[in-house]
Symmetry: C2
Subunit: 340 residues, 2 copies
Amino acid sequence: MRGVVMHAPGDIRVEKREDPRIQLPTDAIIRLSASCICGSDLWPYRGVEAVKGPSPMGHEYVGVVQEVGSEVKNIKPGQFVIGSFFASDNTCVICRAGYQSSCIHRELVGGLGAQAEYLRVPLADGTLVTTPDTPSDDLIPSFLAASDVLGTGWFGAVAAEVGPGKTVAVVGDGAVGLLAVLAAKQLGAERIIAMSRHEPRQKLAAHYGATHIVTERGDEGVARIKELTDGLGAHSVIEAVGTQESMMQSIRSTRPGGHVGYVGVAHDVRLPGEELFFSHVHLHGGPAPVRRFLPELIALIWNRQIDPGKVFDLTLPLDQAAEGYQAMDERRAIKVLLNP
Amino acid sequence: MRGVVMHAPGDIRVEKREDPRIQLPTDAIIRLSASCICGSDLWPYRGVEAVKGPSPMGHEYVGVVQEVGSEVKNIKPGQFVIGSFFASDNTCVICRAGYQSSCIHRELVGGLGAQAEYLRVPLADGTLVTTPDTPSDDLIPSFLAASDVLGTGWFGAVAAEVGPGKTVAVVGDGAVGLLAVLAAKQLGAERIIAMSRHEPRQKLAAHYGATHIVTERGDEGVARIKELTDGLGAHSVIEAVGTQESMMQSIRSTRPGGHVGYVGVAHDVRLPGEELFFSHVHLHGGPAPVRRFLPELIALIWNRQIDPGKVFDLTLPLDQAAEGYQAMDERRAIKVLLNP
């Protein structure tokens, strides 16, 4: 089959890879209906994370089950399924507490390479969730968004304790940040402040429910949030970048007793203990347990109550993946969908 | 009046200070029934925090109201009252959310010097809480503990989401840590692991409800907590020290999805973002909003359901405060009560 392989920072190739096969009786093989490029794929692309030899890329996936291992009970060939970036058994005590991305048997799907034609999914019964029926083509981008960026933005909102009557700020205007706006709206936030200086992203944020746009960043961004909240800060801030600046901006934009939900994969972040201590904020986040939210997200998409697929503003055939990476790196595209 | 003044690290003197007077119509003056030395007083005593000239010491206090300002409505002369280290109006939106120690009008009582005969308490209506009647002398140490160390340990337990069925670990065996054990017991924890290598403190921890004692620290301490929790870590960890080591020990001892409540005043702490991200813990803490808990704590003490005053294992007259500091610094005493 064909699949995307990163050979070095900036060096993306679509090449022949071995067809995945059932390796364990809990595996499933799916034929991918669509895959996509993630903001987190840009970290190694930009050389911020090391690339250790040729690496199959991609960890967001939807598709049709081709084959299942002998112990797979819930998932059947022919079903349309969605999974997320960590395979999980969904039965251990950590999964049952809602933290499937820290499942004691978790496996990173990233290394398996979902930017391809086929994918082996470990722990299929725990990891994959079916749609009510095979979806029409126009719903596929939204289901693909549920695989990571929607689930991650949603977790950010849940971790930030978004709810009715609250003022929510979202730091980061990538796909995760934009879908955190959507999540905040769904979870009943009263005011949603999107922090973005890019017009197409501002528009999408407004479409998803942002009531205010703040273009300033850093200390000035914090000052604007304070101005909008009687000098106190937001009740809930969702961090969707992963840098020192964005973390500090998030903590400083939150009122005492408020909540920061952080889902940007942290890079070179060192949180100053004294400031955190006196900030009085709650801090929670990490790799989103997307699996926890998938049943609810699938229902919302199936019933066309939300349209997270709009974050895909560029669709390319798999063979043009390199152009997709470049477009995202240069911020010409919010998120790129790849058709196998 | 006489009061404790720190002139430099290690230099504690009891000297004549000016009698406090009503300065604002919201002030009250109280005659102190008892005061005490706090673990946090040891930071400047040891030179870890700078001492900027002669500083009146002490921020824990119980006593009898002598005089109130013209706008004070709830508190009357003759009443026995307890306050905490931040004066707060108890009416602003932050106070009403339960974060009185971040009150928008807060004032630090520390600078006013409660290790003395009299104390001016700002925002008396918001800050002070009365007991049902004048307590008998034997209850005074417990009420004094409620002023800070009990309220702080309690907040640590609440911030760590301690509750029925949970396994709780407490890092730090000072008065706050020991009273966090008491709080965890009251809040219904199933197992309470006290981390201590000092026998008298271990005994008091057991008296307060610790079901397990772990003497190891750092990585070995984490390993012991994991052994006791099926390799997962505790549900709730209360951090009551404030160093890099104790914070990391706490985070690493907590299971994914679990809660760290940190109440040790942070000193030179830098939390690594990547590790925090993948730990999946909830982090909350800061200066305890003791005022939130005072009504409940006063009732528990008045009804003799808890005995937090046992943390005072050395009682001295105010004039011997220097000996009290030395005893705490050398860990010969857990906590020192000063009789004016």
